[in-house]
């Protein structure tokens, strides 16, 4: 059973893998499964993953056979385990709990070589539907406090498989970054009685210098205090705190802006490795007046992250106004 351990100073929880733990020689052997090698996520390889939890399929096709468009399976090497009861204990002065949770993989397409930037809007829309359906299902389990959805693209961004996929981790705690975001949003709300994210949307639509794209329901933009070159956020213009309540027409508009924004990033930065993370409200909340869900996309262009995650201090060599102009294709 993996362990969740709490950093006594910072209050941050960390998952420590206790099974299959990595030793010095394991770190050099990690390789990305590239084109041409066997891929467990491809069409026809359905029996090389755990059984499917949910899928969008052609009529009259059986689970775990070809004929799917999006397929959700348990992660074969989960960071957390779904079985068991929640149990918190002390270890000397420290605190831990057993690693209860869910770890799923959303296989986004049967096409190994697809990229988000060149998919149809329908294809991206199906991925977003999978996010929503799996969140709604897992939120029924009262042990889970947060559903974290992320996508690693490229080995430098931590992907171990090339086939397009997202991951979902259901956690028995709320990650510290989410708690901090909510605390910061609360402070702003206390002062101004407005949602800070709604104010950011208004500011960016007015300034326009950091804006990339605008659709009916969304904007994509470079944040004023971007930590990383070409860091990009996609945020709904209307106030929503929880992603899983997204309406079908809004989801389709999100698919459009994600597709077009990622396509810009791929064009300008030549298919960089990147991570995207869905920031959404914790589980079991009614609509929160001060929080606002959004996607953060972080291209991984520099190697300085090591120092920066250690110090919490960021040096960004590309002003976001310059990055936004590049992504608006003004200088091509």
């Amino acid at each position: 059973m993996p362990e969740l351990r709490k950093d006594t100073i910072l209050g941050r929880w960390v998952i420590i893998s206790t099974e299959r733990s990595k030793r010095p020689h394991d770190f050099v052997t990690e390789k990305l499964v590239a084109n041409g090698k066997f891929c467990p996520f491809c069409n026809g390889a359905e029996d090389s993953t755990p059984p499917e939890i949910w899928a969008i399929r052609d009529p009259n096709t059986a689970p775990n056979t070809p004929g799917w468009q999006v397929r959700v399976v348990a992660n074969k090497y989960p960071a957390l385990r779904i079985e068991g009861e929640f149990n918190r204990t002390g270890v000397g002065m420290y605190d831990m709990m057993n690693g209860i949770g869910a770890h799923e993989v959303i296989i986004e397409t049967p096409n190994h070589e697809a990229t988000i930037g060149t998919m149809s809007v329908d294809e991206v829309d199906r991925i977003l539907l999978a996010y929503k359906v799996r969140m709604l299902d897992l939120l029924g389990d009262r042990r889970f406090q947060y559903i974290l959805i992320f996508r690693n693209r490229g080995s430098a961004a931590g992907a171990t498989l090339e086939h397009p996929h997202s991951q979902l981790i259901a956690l028995p705690i709320v990650p510290k970054s989410v708690t901090e975001e909510i605390a910061g949003a609360n402070t702003y709300y206390d002062f101004r009685e407005r949602c800070v994210f709604c104010d950011i949307v208004r500011q960016e639509l007015s300034d326009k210098v950091r804006l990339i794209l605008e659709t009916e329901h969304f904007i994509s933009f470079e944040p004023f205090a971007s930590r990383f070159p070409y860091e990009t956020w996609i945020i709904p213009k209307r106030h929503y705190s929880s992603y899983e309540h997204i309406e079908n027409n809004v989801q389709r508009d999100l698919a459009l802006i994600i597709r077009d924004t990622v396509n810009r990033i791929n064009t300008v930065l030549d298919y960089p490795p990147y991570n995207w993370i869905l920031h959404t409200a914790p589980a079991h909340q009614t609509e929160m007046y001060q929080y606002h869900w959004h996607f953060e996309i972080m291209p991984k262009l520099t190697q300085v992250a090591g120092f920066e995650w250690g110090s919490g201090f960021y040096i960004n060599p590309t002003p976001p106004e310059q990055a936004a102009a590049d992504l608006r294709l003004e200088n091509m």
Copy 2:
């Protein structure tokens, strides 16, 4: 002039470079200056750096000529500028200040191929003396709120030059990670009326399972909630909040444990890229009862950092007890 911009939600400050800003094609051309190429930090190349600020030199040698053992110079491409007055302004709803600060390079040795793990204790002691001397000097400038000292080793850890060196950044703000550490330490102190770091030292000396080395004044160990495989802390056993007050005999003992601990990391992990960061109290503080300076060393073994700095959520595949046993050379 670089800009310091504040993240309105999280309260985190980011340095945005406005001169020499990087565009898409700049990110692929970064290369480490390797052995055999011209190195501006080597003996005899003194005129290819800005003039020296401080050095340990052979008697009767002139500044900016050979004959030095440790040499401190301004960073040729500084993230912050030393000239100018402090100026905070609003930009719409956002906040910024001009990028006042110092950015220095501590060239640790004239020997390009030296490594900390194989230096003599005297050599490491001189580097630590340079840290102290430069901190004491810069702390005389009341504009600076924090002196951040770090060391990037290997291109995957963000080093752009191979020659052994550390960096120092004097900041007009306290980095968020330091503020958070102090806030966490305050919470613990309020509850237990003891320094959390002192308690950690006692716990690790008692448990021994995460301990690597112990000297007269220090321990090196793997933290209970390590974020990264083989993350290693070096901490004084006695309570001190500010590094710059270190006594000479304690500094020499620190040189010994740093040298031996880094040597273990290099041996077990085959000279991994790593970052080390000196965590010390903010400037202009009297001795703080709840804070305790220490070094954090983070080998960069995995590529998952992208997701992890984005979410604040860490998955560590190597239990710290296993890592400590490896670094105690128990399994070799």
